[in-house]
């Protein structure tokens, strides 16, 4: 699958808002018959356009009150150091996102924790103890004003 057309985009837009819609309803919404629609959805999944299908849980409802944006500055720019740091972040359950960035800062993390105690434990365990990590800055957030996983197509 090299390209996606308007109908594929309509399908993806719908499924990004609600992936529990029935194939029948989706087909009607995008102007296709159910089997034709189902074939497209399968192709979009198999070709990797749709990475996964997930339920989104309200963090506040389960006691995750804090979001912390962390700017990380490494001591050196060697690729292997980057890799080991990235692997550590990928393994850390507190880290929900990790971006490698250009400029003075090397990484930006989005960390989600119940409280400051949990964040301090994470920072000690995975940040402060890292010899390759030069310094990091934490921006504390009590309000996540927007969280939208959909990509406009």
């Amino acid at each position: 699958m090299a390209e996606i057309d308007r109908i594929d985009r309509r399908i993806l837009n719908r499924l990004q808002q609600n992936n529990r819609i029935s194939n029948q309803a989706l087909a009607e919404a995008v102007g296709l018959s159910p089997p034709a629609c189902l074939r497209r959805v399968r192709r979009l999944r198999e070709a990797g356009y749709i990475v996964s299908d997930v339920a989104l849980v309200d963090p506040l409802k389960v006691g995750q009150r804090l979001n912390i944006i962390v700017e990380v500055e490494m001591t050196r720019d060697q690729l292997d150091i980057y890799d080991s740091f990235v692997r550590k972040m990928q393994a850390a359950p507190e880290v929900s996102q990790c971006y490698q960035v250009t400029g003075e800062v090397d990484f930006v993390l989005v960390v989600q924790v119940p409280d400051m105690q949990a964040y301090e434990a994470f920072a000690r365990r995975d940040l402060a103890s890292d010899p390759q990590l030069n310094k990091f800055r934490s921006l504390i957030s009590l309000r996540r004003e927007k969280f939208d996983t959909a990509i406009e197509l």
Copy 2:
């Protein structure tokens, strides 16, 4: 629904990884009969623990190559100004996340765009033109190393 128990947490963990699992398979995975499992899932949705069910699309596959983390500093700390800024960010399709933070910075945005041209257009339209916005700093990312929507329960 005041509290959730171990079984609810197991259900949420599963559905955060894959919400297309059949109720039968989910029931078996968490050690419940299908009707009992279905009732719990319905309760979790109605009580707002599950906010939404979505398909996650690969940004690179659809040409969204850039993530930009933006630190925004406002000129004043009035609530009504915050609100109008938040509303603008919520309406902007480029902004996938917006966090109000404490400290020198007032907001952190996660912006997703195809290229720098699209980002500059957004920054001009929604940031630089805002008289209440003092300054902003953009951290450019070409690599999103981790993006996990699941909350560990």
